[in-house]
Symmetry: C2
Subunit: 340 residues, 2 copies
């Protein structure tokens, strides 16, 4: 190998001071984005090898931020991550992602992995309501900011960005009632998680407020998968009096329900109207487009990242818990729009 390249070589080539090069390589915010980019690119070109471990130990920062989501193959979570990246990348941070597949042991393991990776903070949507809190206290002892988005736990000092799931569900259910539906089923999910509990409560309240009878047997807990939606819809169709509408807490189960309804020769929305939740792109792509609740995920990600930046820049020992709640938007499409 040839002579080792130093920051002085880079400084000389770019006609900058060594201090500027060092700051740029360390993502110091005092350096303009253009200079930072130029220096970092030149460092790569010149094959400069930074002692990253030494740098991390010195600055105490890795400029890596960890994001943990239940799954990456949902547009909702992918868009949140996009929002986080859009906000953090210009500030010199890189985003590394872990998924849990809703498995508790993977959640714990991912947090440890990100701690191993020396991240400066963790932004996460929890997978399991039963996850023990001491895994999180580990982070707070190390002064590593933790921010929840979408699926959260209530922990002192831990900020969160969520949407108003209750009102999203309320509006979707009210819309189905306005279309003339009287027997509205609800495909729910693990209600130990706040988001699903609140969607259930919003649905229930809309039924009651509009003078319909609330029938617990029409509420079925399932998982957010197309196949599960099919199976659950089968149960509902086998009932003595079948529902005339379905409000699903997930677009994926809504899609499964739609497939099962069609397989049974019933018409959507005439025989059964369907509404989902999350506004996944496929709900719009389908010929029979699916009514859904948009959760503005990019904005959610951006705000979560902003909260992280505030916390990581805050040397104050007093931690303020911030709870940002966004308003969802009902998008009415063919699967529920009746011509009445």
């Amino acid at each position: 190998m040839s002579k080792k390249i130093t920051i002085y070589d880079i400084a000389k080539k770019l006609n900058l001071t060594a201090a500027t090069v060092s700051r740029a390589l360390n993502n110091n915010l005092k350096i303009s984005e253009n200079t930072r980019k130029l220096v970092q690119e030149t460092a790569v070109e010149m094959d400069y090898e930074q002692n990253t471990l030494a740098r991390a130990l010195k600055s105490g920062k890795s400029y890596n931020v960890g994001v943990i989501v239940p799954r990456i193959d949902s547009n909702f979570f992918a868009s949140i991550i996009r929002g986080i990246e859009e906000e953090l990348y210009p500030k010199g941070y890189h985003v590394i992602i872990c998924q849990t597949h809703d498995q508790e042991d993977l959640e714990t393991g991912n947090i440890n992995s990100l701690l191993n990776a020396q991240v400066d903070g963790i932004l996460m949507s929890i997978s399991n309501a039963k996850t023990k809190n001491n895994i999180f206290s580990n982070l707070s002892q190390k002064h590593i900011p933790l921010i929840f988005f979408d699926r959260k736990k209530d922990i002192d000092g831990v900020s969160s960005v969520t949407i108003d799931d209750y009102s999203g569900a309320y509006e979707a259910t009210k819309h189905l009632i306005n279309q003339g539906c009287k027997r509205i089923a609800h495909l729910s999910n693990d209600r130990l998680l706040e988001i699903y509990k609140n969607r259930y409560l919003g649905y229930k309240q809309a039924i009651i407020d509009n003078g319909l009878e609330f029938d617990e047997s029409l509420v079925i807990e399932t998982r957010s998968k197309v196949e599960e939606g099919k199976k659950t819809m089968k149960i509902l169709l086998d009932m003595e009096t079948r529902p005339d509408a379905v409000f699903s807490s997930s677009d994926f189960t809504a899609l499964g329900a739609i497939q099962e309804i069609k397989n049974n020769g019933l018409r959507i929305p005439d025989d059964i109207a369907v509404a989902g939740f999350s506004n996944e792109p496929f709900t719009r792509f389908m010929e029979l487009s699916i009514t859904s609740v948009d959760q503005s995920p990019i904005e959610m990600g951006r705000i979560a990242a902003q909260v992280f930046l505030e916390e990581v820049g805050n040397d104050n020992k007093i931690k303020t818990k911030k709870e940002v709640v966004l308003t969802p938007e009902l998008i009415i499409r063919k699967s529920s729009r009746k011509r009445i």
Copy 2:
């Protein structure tokens, strides 16, 4: 804070030796998965704080593996990651993911971030054909295995797992010809990337082998986005003699093309038949389901992970370059199946 928990406390509680606990915490493969899990869970429960940095320095391993993909919100890449996780998780590894959004500076930055995070290896699908090789030589100097999947570069000693894009494209095009199509357009992508070059070449050869005229004006380079597919189809429909079929190197552009064809009141497949590439789930969900080429992504991920495990376990200084090529499968659906 209470008394610091040591591995001896954990050993005592579980009636194991301290050595076993230590090995389990360090993901030593000599320890059974059950014991490892039990010890790690107990450690979390007891609030045991491992000095991860010390551990990483001692074992020289972080048991984190980095995966870099152009985007996470495509079922293809998400499934590859799933395959990688399925293979690596039982071996005690955790997977951390970065996405590049096809931006070269993000690609370089992600590699640096993962090096910062002390990963034991990087599995990646490259975003940009122009990425300089010295960013990769950095990895080989540090003896950190690098394995390419799907989108690769030819680098000495770097293994890869890909599919036979040429034959996938050839079969899809031949199928369109068998349906009676004579003027087949091709929505291509950056052909500096091998996968798109090979899809183009497979398409071209199928045209020539079947006695049709190859018309370069029917080949348009675009990006893998629904909106881009729409725009490109608009150009094709405005031609004096419009195509009677489209073979797209991406399902997303195929979907955009379908939307544009429908907007123009033309019938699919009767007026224009369409085939995509990747077998994204939406191709199957659509009422007008889309013909596509399946790339068995989970298998691709699993094999890439197996190659990593071989390389990371290989103390031999001689590196063997492995090139695994999987066979794709054409899935014929409504968008191209004519009743002739």
